[in-house]
Subunit: 203 residues, 2 copies
């Protein structure tokens, strides 16, 4: 991935146009042919680039795909700065989870995101890098919204916010990855409502 450059020399000479063309081609191709049939030669051909230019800068197919995601998230609007905070925690969470679902259901993102998950599952190094660059910051946004609610007394005082995030997003992502059923807005609402209230009856 980009960050694995050798210390000095490099860096300046790199052709930015080629880099962008490669990442765009990788992202397009994984949608079209699927992750299994995605190959370097195809990416190079689509990008109008020599294979060596890819091998020079990225160590693996997964790293290319990962950088493609980084590129998206760093670009226009891809990275939001905060989650909505209207004061109504349940409504806000439902909105955010519905948005997540919409993204997962979007055919433009479905295959690429599955591919990214596959790489992460099989490569601990990539998983660590993902956690640092994408997963971590996103999780922090979620925790910020929850922390705000916690201060307002809407969440249990001793609540572990990491567990809370897992409880809200884990079911969603797991159902999506395992194809355990359709991801509908109603399902998102159900998760939020049940997670907030708990499985036990409230008197």
């Amino acid at each position: 991935m980009t960050t694995q450059r050798k210390p000095s020399s490099h860096t300046t000479r790199r052709n930015e146009a080629s880099r962008r063309a490669i990442l765009a081609a990788a992202f397009e191709l994984v949608q079209e042919v699927g992750y299994a049939k995605l190959n370097i030669e195809g990416i190079a051909a689509r990008a109008g680039v020599g294979k060596q230019t890819i091998y020079r800068w990225w160590p693996s197919k997964g790293a290319v795909l990962f950088d493609a995601f980084l590129m998206l998230s760093e670009q226009p609007d891809g990275g939001e700065t905060a989650l909505p905070d209207t004061g109504d925690l349940e409504a806000d969470l439902k909105a955010v989870l519905r948005a997540t679902i919409e993204e997962l259901n979007d055919p433009r993102y479905d295959e690429p995101m599955r591919a990214l998950n596959t790489e992460i599952t099989h490569d601990p190094a990539l998983a660590a890098f993902y956690a640092e660059r994408l997963g971590g910051p996103m999780r922090e946004l979620k925790k910020q919204r929850l922390r705000s609610a916690q201060r307002a007394g809407q969440l249990a005082e001793d609540l572990d916010l990491d567990v809370a995030v897992d409880l809200l997003w884990g079911p969603l992502l797991n159902r999506w990855l395992q194809r355990g059923g359709a991801l509908t807005p109603g399902y998102a609402d159900s998760i939020v409502k049940t997670a907030l209230n708990g499985l036990r009856p409230r008197r």
Copy 2:
């Protein structure tokens, strides 16, 4: 997979010893070399079998691996008939989730199960078959235990048991797949406790 045989002809002549050898070899090899480097020729060599014998009966690498799991689950002790029900719901759930964690952390199962998840993620047909043969029955066991608790008034009356199962196991599996942190017994306890009580404060 086995169920994709052509209607008649086949079936009788099939060499059961070869079938078992192939599935065992696939399961061993995926542990040793990882999913990415698992290949048909290797499985055939390890099983002492011609490649064609594999291609004759299975449509893909994933299908072989899937059948290997089916073989395990149908064998001794692989399939349990019910979850523990001592009357103490929280303790029972913690025990079950701890057991799940132990299995996921077991190096014998880690790689093969990641591989299976990868196949499911990228192949809807395999996902449907998995849901029918393995996922569905296991989910039913979990729902049975929850239903028992619901009848005892320990769970909300209007609780959707599918959502409840997702809420308990989703976070666990998601953290495991995404390598979002260590799966410890304490984490399992935390999930159970938080899911049961909910994120909101209880007075």
